[in-house]
Every structure is written in C-alpha cells, then in structure tokens.
C-alpha cells in the first residue's frame, strides 16, 4: 500500500531553521492532521513536499519515488496536489477556466468535461458561477474552487494548507465532511494543515503536532483529541 513517507526532513531559510528532523508517514484512505501554532513550520512542511522549497536534508518518498529531487511540475504530475495557504484561485480567470487549468495535464480535451462536472456536483455553489471571474467569489467559494481545482486532476495525495481559514463554522463543517467522504471513497492520502484543531481532529485518523519545527506528537487522532493535557499544552483548547 503506497504511503507518503517523510524522513528526517530539515528545512532552513538562511539562518532560520523552519523544520528540524521531521519524520512521519501518511497512509492511503486516511486524513493526517498537522497541527501547531503560528510559525511552527506547517506551511513549510507542505511546500517541501511539493518541491516549492528544497530541504536541507531528509527525504520525501511516495510510491517508490524520492520526491525531494524532482521538479514541482513532476511531483504534481506524479499525483501530489497542493492547495496552498490563502485560497490561491487565479482571479483573472473564470471558475470554469480555473478548473480546466487543473485538469489539463491529466486529461484529454474530451475527458475533461465530465471530470469537471464531477467537481461541480461536489461543490454546487461553483456550478452556478462557472462563467464568473474568480475575483467575484466569496471566501468560502474560493476555497471550494481551490480544492476543486486540486481534485480535478484526480490526485493520490492531497495537501491542504488551512482550508478552513476565515470560513464560517457551518461551512467548515460541510467542507470537513466532504473531505472525509472523499478520502475514503477515492482512497486518498490527505495531509491537512489546520489551526482549527477541533474540526480537523474530528475527521483525521492520525495527528502530527509540530512545535518550533519539530514533531512533538505523532499519534492516533482520537488519542490526541481525548488527551486534555496534550490539547491544552500544544493546541490551546
């Protein structure tokens, strides 16, 4: 069973050590929640997995390949989709064009239509706005579009950086439910970075807590959610 395996990963920005010896693995059909305070290194972790930053040492393995030496484009074509922090929809394009862009490298012109329709079925508000420019969407709709655009290429690994940031609780709950179902239905490997520990732990099987660039907890999600001392100490609730 293919897993995403991160071993001894260290990343520095000049003198700043953002990640030090990070190791964990994420399994198919599971959501792995990555938690930690601001500046802990969560975004850096995802950027290192997709090659947007290069690690100082360590490896990222998936499906028998070492990702840390590949180009970003190649990693993505390998089935790793990354939804970056801050709803990175392309504002100059319509909803439909954003989704089409996501499907280009995987599907032929003929296959694309049905694949994009599946995304509209998953996120109905997008279907009503397909010809609208992305800069007219609300925050929640943008997040749906950013996630939909990642899903449209049928990735095997999905990296999400704070998808619930700025969303109303009810929208977050719906998003989490969609993610949980999707992970099981398509046997995805999901790495979910969140500030909102409560909602991400509710759908995760595993939890990785990062503090000052180091993994301090790597446990079953249920255990972390049930351990009030640990929650107080690292997650503040």
């Amino acid at each position: 069973m293919p897993v995403l395996e991160i071993e001894d990963l260290s990343v520095s920005y000049g003198a700043v050590h953002a990640l030090t010896d990070v190791s964990f693995s994420a399994a198919e059909g599971e959501v792995t929640a990555v938690l930690g305070a601001n500046g802990a290194g969560k975004t850096t972790l995802l950027r290192a997995i997709t090659g947007l930053v290069r690690p100082r040492k360590g490896t990222v393995r998936y499906d028998g390949e070492q990702l840390e030496k590949m180009s970003v484009e190649k990693i993505v074509r390998h089935g790793v989709a990354h939804v970056p922090e801050g709803r990175s929809v392309i504002e100059e394009m319509t909803v439909d064009e954003n989704l089409r862009l996501g499907s280009l490298f995987r599907f032929s012109r003929r296959q694309r239509g049905p694949v994009i329709e599946e995304i509209y079925a998953l996120f109905p508000p997008l279907a009503e706005r397909r010809r609208q420019h992305a800069n007219t969407l609300s925050g929640g709709e943008r997040q749906m579009l950013a996630i939909g655009r990642a899903l449209v290429s049928r990735p095997k690994v999905l990296l999400l950086d704070e998808p619930s940031l700025g969303l109303a609780p009810i929208v977050t709950a719906r998003l989490m439910a969609v993610l949980r179902d999707l992970t099981q239905a398509s046997n995805l490997i999901v790495v979910l970075v969140e500030q909102n520990a409560r909602s991400s732990l509710s759908i995760a099987q595993k939890a990785v807590v990062i503090n000052l660039g180091r993994v301090v907890v790597c446990e079953d999600a249920a255990k972390v959610a049930g351990d009030s001392e640990l929650r107080h100490h690292y997650l503040g609730y």
Partner: protein
C-alpha cells in the same frame, strides 16, 4: 464632407497600426505580466535585418517572413538572457530592464547604421483610390493594414480564450507558483510569450515603416501611441487594444486635421486622461479584483 471622410479614413489607417503596437503590448502583458518598453526598439532592429534581406534581392514577402521569424527568435533570446535571471523578483525590475534595453538597442542601431533614413517599400500601392468622382484617402496598403491587424487580434483571442496553451500562458503570467502546482512548466511559456509579442511588434513595425521610413528611432512615437491605446483599452484585452488604437488614431487625425499637426501629441494625452477618468482600469479590462 469629403475632408471629414478622408480624415476619418486616415485616422482609421493610423489607428490600426497603433492597434498593432498595442496588441503586442497586450500579448506580453497577458503572457508574462510585464510591459515591454523595448518592444519598438526590438522591432526596429529586426526591420533593419528585413531591410538587408530585401536588398539581397529577395522579394517583399520573403523579407516579411524572415522579419517575423527573426522577431520570434529575438524575443525568445531576450527573455532567456535578460529577463529570466530576474524571475521571482518584482516585475518592476524587468520593466526597468526593458527600458534600458530600448536605449541600448537604439544606440547600437545608431552605431551600425547611422541616423540616415532608408525607405522601406509597402507590399501594395499607397495611393488613395478614386471611387466615382471622389478621391478616397484609403489605399490598397491601408486595406492590407486593416486585414493584418484584424487577423492578429483574432489569433490572440483564439489563443487566449480558446486554447489550452493560452490558458496555461495566462496562468503563468498571473500566478506562476499556482501554475507550477497545477503541473504547468513555467519557463518555456514565458519564453514563448516574449517570442510571440516580439513577432507582433515586428508586424507593427513593418506596417509603420513604409510611411515613416527606417531610422534607429522610427518606432518611438508609434510606441507611445501604442501605450496610449493599450492604457485606454485595458492592458489585458485584445479587443480593447483594437478599439484603443482606433480611438487614438481618430483623435490624432481629427486634432491634426482641424486644429493643426503640432497639437497631435496633446490629443493622445487628452485621450488618456479622459479615459482614465471614466474607467481607470481601461475600457475593456476585466472588473477590478475583489479582495476577500
């Protein structure tokens, strides 16, 4: 009445050439998110090469094709050598470099070919036509200009709206990191954007040169009008470039025809100010982004 008609026709002919320059500017903006001040100077250099080809004894059309091909190559090379090292820095750096490149190229052209003017032929007659008893100031060459510029605009619309390549190019221009995360190879597409826009610039130069004649700075004035048109129409819209070009050409013609040629530059300036007051983002630009 005939005076008015002929001035209007002259304005349309000029406007289409201005539109060609503006289309080149729109092309590079949509493909790489910068403006290229050196576009006119690059086209000027290429036109000197076309001139040399022409005087080897080749016909007009061979020189025409050679010029477009050289333009493509020159654009690609410029991107690789001058602009690529600035990738990832503020777009302002690249824009300033294009300005320096403009000055450099005009200097080089002056050193090689001197400031003497050379005449460059048109492929069709530049004489106005007689329809019935009225003399019409619209030549077969003007018809060619209109058709060539319309073709360029339609090709650009098809590229950006209708093709996967165009979609990728737009993504690379406006969100390079996001484009990479969607599996798009950024570098070759930036180079292609420069190549295509340089070729569009060369087309504009070949349409200008029969009337202006060839000197190291023959593209300067038309480039300024091209910027006027692109700003009026919105830097990201091919249709806007065409309408902006026509508006610029007609303003120049009417002001020149009725108020005197020395006021022409003022007409362009007034047009920019008025249009910026009405719609700052350009007449045909997409709606201003809504920040969430």
């Amino acid at each position: 009445m005939q005076f008015f008609l002929n001035i209007t026709l002259g304005g349309i002919a000029t406007g289409m050439i201005v539109a060609a320059v503006a289309l080149g500017l729109v092309l590079i903006f949509r493909a790489t998110n910068i403006v290229n001040f050196a576009q006119g100077a690059m086209a000027m250099m290429t036109t000197y090469i076309a001139y040399a080809v022409l005087h080897q004894g080749s016909g007009y059309w061979l020189a025409f094709v050679a010029a477009l091909a050289t333009g493509l190559l020159f654009g690609a090379l410029t991107q690789v050598v001058l602009i690529r090292p600035l990738q990832g820095k503020s777009p302002l750096n690249a824009i300033i470099v294009t300005f320096g490149f403009l000055i450099f190229l005009e200097g080089v052209a002056g050193a090689i070919w001197g400031s003497q003017t050379r005449t460059y032929p048109a492929p069709f007659s530049e004489a106005g036509q007689k329809i019935g008893n009225t003399q019409i100031a619209f030549s077969p060459f003007d018809v060619f200009v209109v058709l060539a510029v319309l073709a360029l605009m339609i090709l650009m619309l098809v590229l950006f709206r209708g093709t996967d390549l165009g979609l990728r190019m737009r993504a690379v221009a406006f969100a390079p990191e996001t484009a990479r995360l969607l599996g798009v190879r950024v570098r070759p597409l930036l180079t292609l954007g420069w190549a295509l826009s340089a070729a569009a610039g060369v087309l504009a130069a070949l349409l200008v040169v029969p009337t202006s004649s060839l000197t190291p700075n023959f593209m300067d004035v038309i480039l300024i009008y091209g910027f006027t048109a692109a700003v009026v129409g919105g830097l990201d819209s091919p249709v806007g470039a065409l309408v902006g070009g026509l508006a610029t050409g007609l303003s120049l013609a009417y002001v020149g025809g009725y108020l005197g040629g020395s006021l022409e530059p003022m007409a362009a300036l007034a047009l920019v100010i008025v249009s910026l007051m009405i719609r700052p983002e350009g007449l045909f630009a997409r709606p201003a982004p809504r920040r969430v």
